[in-house]
Amino acid sequence: MVETPETNPRGTAMNAPEVEAWFVREVLPLEAMLMQYLRHNWRDQSDIEDLRQEIYVRVCQAARKEIPHPAKAFVFTTARNLLIDRARKSNVVPIEAVSDLDTLGIAVDTPSPDRSLIARDELRKLQGALDQLPPRCREVLILGRIEGLTGREIAQRLGLAETTVSEHLAKGMHALTDILLRESIDLKRRT
């Protein structure tokens, strides 16, 4: 990238596309590690998803003002602060239980795990993820994603109500996202 500015058009307030691009590129690949961190450091496992979401919202709100560098340190610091906040408020977990990043072995400057993976490994990963879905969700997603059918065509093919197909698609997409984001740690170990 060559930029030859007299005045830089960037450097003004971040807007949504830029925050989104940063979030997708830098934050999402950390999800597997973040979930592991939350599970280790928070007793009530039913809170974990909400905590993750709260962390994402906080880091994106911060990124709107300025994109944090490096992302990893920022995400885990945000996570730790949130856990401390919550622990104080709810009095459920002693603050000491919130481990230091160092003791967890999370190096804040190592490259994210799965950016350099080539397509063939990713295909294997997707097959693995699809295999974990409930059969109906999997079938519907395969017809939609690989055969390229519309929702209506899927309903006709399988003889299902359109609302049912809709539900399976949403559930399948939701589950697939969780699986794909959370298995990246295993991939890192393998490579």
Partner: protein
């Protein structure tokens, strides 16, 4: 709403948008939902990013089917489901265009090298994504926003401002934004404009007689020095054609010759197809634009061609 409920709601919006009829009213509803809470927006970003990733994975599936059809025994994993998602054979455009414009000091220049890609966000919120080997200049003042595409390909997501029109110039042709997302590819005096959302006006300099057309979503206009042609493509075809925005090339029954040309836009190590029999074989699948190796593997193991590596090039032949 719990995080899981929000995630499910995001997935539901995305499947509605992806698989069912989608109107402007639906889009307005989705926008309202996204704007209602940061939780919603972040959940939707997360969902759609991963979904976009599954697109390129799914498109790899046909290559697996080809492997199964080959004499090499393979374990079928997805029997009967592996039909190619309709993708577009992209016509490769090589080489640069001579700049027709005198560079003025007020222009800001942006460029990428072969294999490069860059996204820039301008002060007005407009996003421009540069593909491989691309050069453009921008000039903004109170009255107008002007971009000159000197060579290559770029995607524009324009923040509309009625008081300051957004104009892209490419090889003498002019695209004026009316609130829109579109891509422009320019090379060898050929300009191709694909409109994804909104509207834009295209004014051609073809053949000395000015022609113009208002482009709607799905419209693709191809203009050369002496002709201008307007066609229409389905939205999914257009979005696959823009696979480069995610760093991938999507082939659907594309000849090896054209696929090689396309790869050569992105890589210094050139693919050479040695004979016409090989050149006319067709290929289906999605590849990382910089992964010539994966492509050579498919040629070797699926199409049973010879692959020879030389200094600066990889030769594929019968």
């Amino acid at each position: 709403m719990s995080a899981t409920e929000t995630d499910l709601a995001a997935a539901d919006w995305l499947q509605r948008k992806t698989f069912w009829a989608w109107s402007e009213g639906d889009q307005a509803e989705l926008d309202a939902w996204l704007n209602a809470a940061d939780e919603n927006r972040v959940a939707y970003w997360r969902q759609s990013a991963i979904w976009a990733r599954t697109e390129r994975l799914a498109a790899l599936a046909p290559a697996q089917r080809e492997m199964r059809a080959a004499p090499i025994p393979q374990k079928p994993r997805w029997p009967g489901i592996l039909r190619a998602a309709a993708a577009l054979g992209v016509i490769a455009v090589l080489g640069g265009v001579t700049a027709h414009y005198v560079t003025q000091p007020r222009y800001l220049s942006y460029s990428t090298t072969i294999g490069g890609g860059e996204t820039i966000t301008l002060a007005d919120g407009t996003l421009i994504q540069l593909n491989t080997d691309t050069a453009l200049r921008t000039r903004f003042d109170e009255k107008r926003r002007e971009v000159i595409l000197d060579k290559g390909e770029a995607f524009f997501q324009v923040t509309h401002d009625a008081k300051r029109p957004f104009v892209v110039m490419a090889a003498g042709h002019r695209i004026t934004d009316l609130g829109t997302k579109f891509s422009v590819k320019s090379g060898n005096s050929r300009v191709e404009v694909s409109l994804l959302e909104g509207r834009a006006e295209f004014e051609s300099a073809s053949g000395g007689k000015p022609q113009s057309a208002v482009l709607k979503p799905g419209d693709v206009v191809v203009a050369t020095a002496d002709s201008m042609k307007l066609t229409h493509k389905p939205e999914d075809v257009l979005s696959r054609q823009l696979g480069w925005r995610r760093g991938v090339l999507i082939f659907d029954n594309t000849t090896l010759a054209n696929a090689a040309k396309e790869f050569n836009r992105y890589n210094r190590r050139k693919l050479v197809v040695g004979d016409s029999t090989a050149a006319n074989l067709t290929i289906v699948g999605t590849f990382q634009a910089n992964d010539v190796e994966a492509f050579a593997d498919v040629a070797q193991f699926v199409l049973h061609l010879k692959v020879q590596k030389r200094d600066q090039e990889t030769v594929i032949s019968r």
